[in-house]
Amino acid sequence: VSTGETTLIADPEDPSVLGANLAVGARLLASAVAFLFMAFVFAFFYLRALNTNHAFRPPHTNTPVGFGVAVLACVLGSIAVFEVARRAFGDGREGPWRLGVLAAWLLGLAAVVVQVVEYFNLSFGAMTGGGLGSVFLGFTAVFGVFWLGAVYWIETMWAQSLRQPASAAGDVHAPSRLLRPDADSCSVFLYVMAVIELFAFVLLYLVK
């Protein structure tokens, strides 16, 4: 049953508008995420400076550097491969783009898997890790959630490029024209995630 009302519809906007939305939105989102992790960085230095009850780093709280390196490698590797793929896409090479995005996605997922495995191989528990253990668990878990968001973003581009090859884009309104600004915006977000992960690695694994 329908009442047959008059509905207004707007013509599709030029993808450059959505591209600009995405570019600005991604930078703002990255800023917000950076401030969120600044809170964990602050917590690290604050609790370390106070060292209440000399329990910031109990003797048994040792974060496993090997796992840290593995997570870092997967995250940075994923971002690097994505960057290479993005440049290939910019050059109009769709094959390397798709392959690169797939590889970036898999590496990104691997980072999450390694992180989860690490949780089962810690020398301390949530209750016994002291201040450092708390910051470690909080920082890495929240990073994992946001990293999964980044991995999701990468996957959507891969899926879209399979479904709608960019080369098929004949007119300015084709959705595939959004892939480029989408990829550019995603890379901004990924760079910020890379910086955060580097911070996490230095603070949680290297600073004594």
């Binding site: 009302e5 008059t6 207004l8 917000a32 201040g131 909080g138 959507t156 595939s176």
Partner: protein, 639 residues
């Protein structure tokens, strides 16, 4: 297709039947799935929680509750249809901006990507929770008619104070950005939409959920921390605090996303010719508020996540005995909390500076100064948070810096007053209801601001900290400031939003009763604070009894004045329904050049902007915008 213009077409399209719409995603499904989600999450949490946590500071089943609240949130967004698009993207569906826009009341009960619908949803939700929180205030004042606990026990009194404070802060954070920002910013900058319409809608529905989750704290035994959630109390409190944490986290997410959306909209969606110098001052208010929301709300979210870890997994972020510190919460919370104060104040500045030139019939005096002042306030608001910790044992060497930076913030705030005075100077003022509220804003905010200088000063803060002096101060800034500005904004823009005139006489009665009883309620509380009456405690010195009875009676009258407002809304919009003119105030800004209520896609053609919106009384004024062939409604005539 009936007709086609360059960019908006009218088509005849079947509207789904009511039964079909009921089966689709909507708020009824959302409620059902949220309740089901809570039950499922709670069951999973209860089953696996004990493996996560073997010992902690609380005896409540926090893992189960947090899992329940998480799954309830998932159910809520699933029921509303927010997961359809992201799931579609996983399988490669192309990106789109908006859902199909329909007419009719049904769109108010589901995901809708028309910014005007979202704004009205926001307004209804914010007003609902505002009245609930106001009712809490009435209970509080009722209890304080006696100097000892009577009908509310001490623990419940704390919960009541916490619910009132948290709900007011949460809802007022969204109070202007949500309803007025979402409605007006696209219209004022000549856009058809916000940059991210789905996110816009999501922020609204998360706000609604946050309000109900916070209310669920009552069912979980309440919480004793007030709106500030101080550790270690938050780590040790009963399960009600879990609802506080979840609701504040939802608001934090919502606030950050609103900010991202608002800034992106203003940066990328402005009409041709809408240069930065021509942006309405209200839009600048929204931009500066959004900057604060984007940068401050995530810090709150991180702090809340730490509390979740402490309560659910027994980590020790805030537990001194095991390497944490409760002061960490103070630092993180107030890093958010003080910018939050300006998240509440800056939109108020934007509203009143938008209203003043219209009713003074003069250009806004010192437009650039006003913009610079707003940015000055926003920047400084990140540098003052430790004044909340003057009495918490911070390093005494830090005190002078934070005292100085806090007092510094009064300079840009003072410049906003200068803008107002310059605009009103030698003006022929029309004392309409919006103008009265705008003028009252300055009166109240002046008292709030001046009392704030005393609190920023270490020596006087030592005396007044934790007393009703502080309480009176922030009510003068938040209620006397933001709520008065919001009321002015509602009276000013509601005819545009709804298409109906509000009753002027009822509006004036509402204003005068609200203004008089607001001041009679809160001004005496400065004295109560100076005489040593502490916050958050229902017992006080018997010498203060008469004063408190007077304040309570005034507060009840203040509450009654809000009922007048509600009555005016019902009378004007539901019962009388007198159509509003397109431009009843003869304003120049873009939103007033459109029909009331505004059509779905706002502008048939995107306008070209030729001038700023404050050319009142200028002989050489040019039309603000070129709308193509349409006749515009304002005193600018055709464009």
């Amino acid at each position: 297709v009936e007709s086609a213009s360059v960019s908006v077409r009218r088509i005849r399209r079947g509207t789904p039947s009511a039964a079909r719409q009921l089966l689709g995603s909507n708020v009824f499904w959302a409620v059902g799935l949220a309740i089901g989600g809570y039950a499922l999450g709670h069951w999973i949490g209860a089953r696996f929680g004990p493996h996560l946590r073997t010992q902690g500071e609380t005896d409540s089943d926090d893992v189960a509750i947090f899992m329940g609240l998480f799954f309830a949130t998932l159910g809520w967004v699933l029921g509303l249809g927010f997961l359809n698009y992201p799931l579609g993207r996983i399988i490669g569906r192309p990106p789109t901006l908006r859902e199909r826009e329909d007419h009719g009341p049904w769109r108010y009960f589901r995901l809708c990507t028309d910014h005007k619908v979202v704004a009205i949803q926001y307004l209804v939700a914010v007003l609902f929770f505002f009245f609930v929180a106001g009712l809490n205030a009435m209970f509080i004042r009722g209890e304080l008619t006696s100097d000892n606990a009577t009908f509310i026990q001490a623990g419940n009194y704390l919960t009541l104070v916490g619910l009132h404070g948290t709900m007011m802060l949460m809802m007022m954070s969204a109070g202007v950005l949500g309803p007025l920002g979402n409605y007006l910013v696209p219209l004022m900058i000549g856009s058809r939409r916000m940059a991210f319409p789905r996110i816009e809608s999501l922020t609204m529905w998360l706000t609604v959920l946050a309000g109900f989750v916070l209310l669920s704290a009552i069912l979980l035994g309440g919480f004793p921390t007030g709106w500030t959630g101080y550790a270690p109390l938050a780590d040790q409190a009963r399960a009600g605090i879990d609802a506080y944490i979840a609701s504040f986290a939802l608001i934090g997410i919502s606030l950050a996303l609103v900010g991202v959306n608002m800034i992106a909209t203003v940066m990328t969606m402005r009409a041709p010719g809408m240069t930065w110098n021509r942006l309405p001052i209200f839009v600048w208010g929204m931009v500066t508020t959004s900057i604060l929301a984007v940068l401050a709300a995530p810090v709150l979210l991180a702090a809340l996540i730490m509390v979740v870890f402490d309560r659910a997994m027994a980590t020790s972020f805030f537990v001194s005995s095991t390497g944490g510190s409760p002061f960490l919460w103070d630092e993180l919370f107030w890093f958010f909390g003080h910018p939050e104060v300006y998240i509440l104040a800056l939109p108020g500045f934007g509203i009143v500076l938008e209203i003043l030139p219209v009713f003074a019939r003069k250009p806004l005096w010192g437009y650039r100064l006003a913009v610079a002042s707003m940015f000055g306030v926003a920047l400084l608001s990140f540098m003052v948070w430790q004044h909340h910790l003057f009495m918490s044992g911070i390093n005494s060497n830090l005190r002078p810096f934070y005292m100085f930076s806090t007092e510094l913030i009064s300079i840009p705030t003072g410049l906003i007053f200068l803008n107002a005075m310059g605009t009103l100077w030698k003006a022929r003022i029309r004392f309409t209801v919006p103008m009265l509220f705008a003028l009252a804003f300055f009166f109240n905010f002046l008292i709030g601001g001046l009392s704030g200088v005393f609190l920023s000063d270490v020596t006087s803060d030592v005396v007044t900290h934790g007393s009703y002096f502080v309480m009176a101060h922030f009510h003068y800034t938040i209620m006397g400031g933001l709520v008065f500005a919001l009321m002015g904004g509602i009276y000013y823009w509601l005819p545009k939003m709804t298409g109906f005139k509000l009753n002027e006489k009822l509006g004036k009665i509402h204003f005068w009763t609200m203004f008089i009883f607001f001041n009679l309620t809160f001004f005496p509380l400065f004295a109560a604070g100076m005489l040593g009456m502490p916050r958050r405690v229902s017992s006080y010195n018997a010498d203060l009894h008469t004063l408190n009875v007077f304040v309570s009676i005034s507060a009840f009258c203040l509450g009654a004045s809000m009922l007048l407002f509600l009555g005016n809304l019902v009378w004007s919009i539901v019962l009388r329904r007198v159509p509003a003119e397109s431009n009843p105030w003869h304003a120049l800004s873009l939103e007033w050049q459109l029909p009331s209520p505004v059509p779905v896609y706002n502008f048939e053609r995107i306008p070209t902007i030729h001038a700023g919106p404050y050319g009142y009384g200028l002989p050489e004024r040019v039309p603000v915008a070129d709308f193509g062939t349409r006749v515009i409604a304002g005193e600018g005539g055709t464009a």
